[in-house]
Symmetry: C2
DNA sequence: CAGTATCCTAACTGATACTG
DNA sequence: CAGTATCAGTTAGGATACTG
């Protein structure tokens, strides 16, 4: 097995997330952000309005939901549709790329939820937030 | 299809990550933290020493690596082995639970790395960090 | 080598109040 | 309804120096 003699440029072009300046780092940070994970997860079920998302994610503030949605939208994971009615009606849904990442996030979330008991019973498990 | 008439207690016991106080939230935050993701990813290849991890993850500081390793260890995702020699030699490796979550994280990371071009070419993609 | 201790800044976060 | 604006507190994060 031969090792690739990796230059920094090689790594950036390849999209190597281990290179500090690689754009994939930023994308990864956005989708794995505290609220990004949960927003992507709830949107898997379909199109939702701002208030519906907020209601489904316990503890998220208006500010962070708005900010997270804007980031995910600008990254191309979420699309935003404004219905020009009064009172306002805005829908959010996953793009094709969003469905891909959200599916993978959901696999992770599901495993953790499903193995919570196992994890918490471990003698080394912490309670800290 | 009938809806589950969800109490908060139900959701916590089920390990529902959408409930703000659920312990799965904290675990999820730890493994999806900026450095947690990368540490879990590099450890998939096998046992590594502190300095090896630090070298492989571009841009991580000593402080954040130490902190991230301690958190992942206390959550039961990483195990730490001290070899009582001088100079010190400490090994880190994934536990069984760690391998499960790291595998799922890797699926996400791989997809993003592999589709970077697609994501960046999107007209809505941002450059921000 | 593998960290810890200290200091400092910037970013994240939430509460509240307000707007179209 | 769907946000934005503002403010204040907390935490994340990095640089440097130091220890066993």
């Amino acid at each position: 097995m031969t090792m690739t003699p990796d230059t920094l440029t090689d790594r950036l072009e390849r999209g190597d997330v281990m290179a500090a300046q690689c754009p994939s780092r930023a994308l990864l940070r956005h989708v794995t952000s505290q609220w990004g994970v949960l927003v992507l997860t709830v949107l898997r079920r379909g199109t939702l309005r701002y208030s519906e998302i907020r209601h489904r994610i316990g503890g998220i503030s208006e500010k962070m939901l708005a900010q997270t949605l804007r980031t995910l939208e600008s990254d191309g994971f979420v699309s935003r549709t404004v219905h020009p009615v009064v009172p306002p009606h805005v829908d959010y849904r996953l793009t094709a790329a969003g469905q891909e990442v959200a599916g993978r996030i959901a696999d992770l979330v599901d495993w953790i939820e499903g193995n919570l008991g196992l994890l918490l019973s471990s003698d080394t498990a912490s309670l800290e937030g």
